[in-house]
Symmetry: C2
Subunit: 161 residues, 2 copies
């Protein structure tokens, strides 16, 4: 039960895009170089973010990606769901249908207790991810990363956007 590695990449890319000066963009190649991940595969994650309306891409030289919304309007959950999908972690295959003791005519029963508990746990997970936005992330990163590093990142981004 593990999230795709694309989720980690997508979160990092969004974190970087959130700090981008107004009007600037970063290309897939730049984002891949910065994080040391394969460009072609990262591209799939960025396309998923684009489809979900979290980032928007533009073509041509000087093209690339930028956030489609203000950082405070993009939650971790938005990003995770865009890349990972919205399926629940607990898949109910209705094995109770095979139960030899069940009445055969009770067809459309409500989801059973077991499934409900598992789905509530999923919802608790999502609720936590909904609670943190890219704006929150930027604030935390600003407090944790050495000023020296932040300066170098800004310079690097400035040169490639």
């Amino acid at each position: 039960m593990q999230l795709r590695n694309q989720v980690e990449w997508a979160l990092h890319c969004c974190g970087l895009l959130a700090g981008l000066p107004e009007g600037r963009r970063l290309s897939t190649k730049s984002l891949a170089d910065f994080h040391g991940v394969p460009k072609e595969y990262l591209s799939k994650a960025l396309q998923a973010l684009s489809t979900a309306g979290i980032v928007e891409g533009s073509l041509g030289p000087a093209g690339g990606y930028r956030l489609a919304k203000p950082p405070s309007a993009v939650s971790f959950l938005d990003i995770v769901e865009a890349v990972e999908g919205r399926r629940r972690t607990f898949a109910c295959t209705e094995i109770r249908r095979n139960n030899p003791c069940r009445a055969t005519d009770t067809c459309d029963m409500a989801p059973c207790t077991i499934a409900r508990v598992m789905w509530e746990a999923d919802e608790a997970w999502r609720e936590r991810l909904r609670a943190t936005t890219l704006a929150d992330l930027a604030a935390m990163l600003g407090a944790e990363i050495p000023a020296e590093t932040l300066r170098k990142v800004a310079a690097w981004v400035g040169a490639r956007s």
Copy 2:
């Protein structure tokens, strides 16, 4: 990002075992028949539960599994972790190490903000699963399942344990 189907099977089996009369056991074959799942594969899940100390098996005819603890001492989380493992859903591959702007000598940094948020979400998920035990499940099932069905299940179990 999906839990193994063994998780669903294990939860159902534990639910059934929780209602077992004192001293009785159910074999892998019976549990597989009841739920309509492959016996050999279900066996792996039961072995995981046994290793985790949640159920205990005994050999020979009239052998089989029973709970190793009172139902109130077994949480959903215990069962899920026994079958699925304890890895976190978010695997941090430390891609920040590839960041061209990072100081090369900052080696043992704390887990970054992104990883912390993801892990807190995992913890919220686990917390919810820790909060419900097999005793809770039994109470809920008793309230939801028709008395007629409960009676038939008891008869079926009685005949095979």
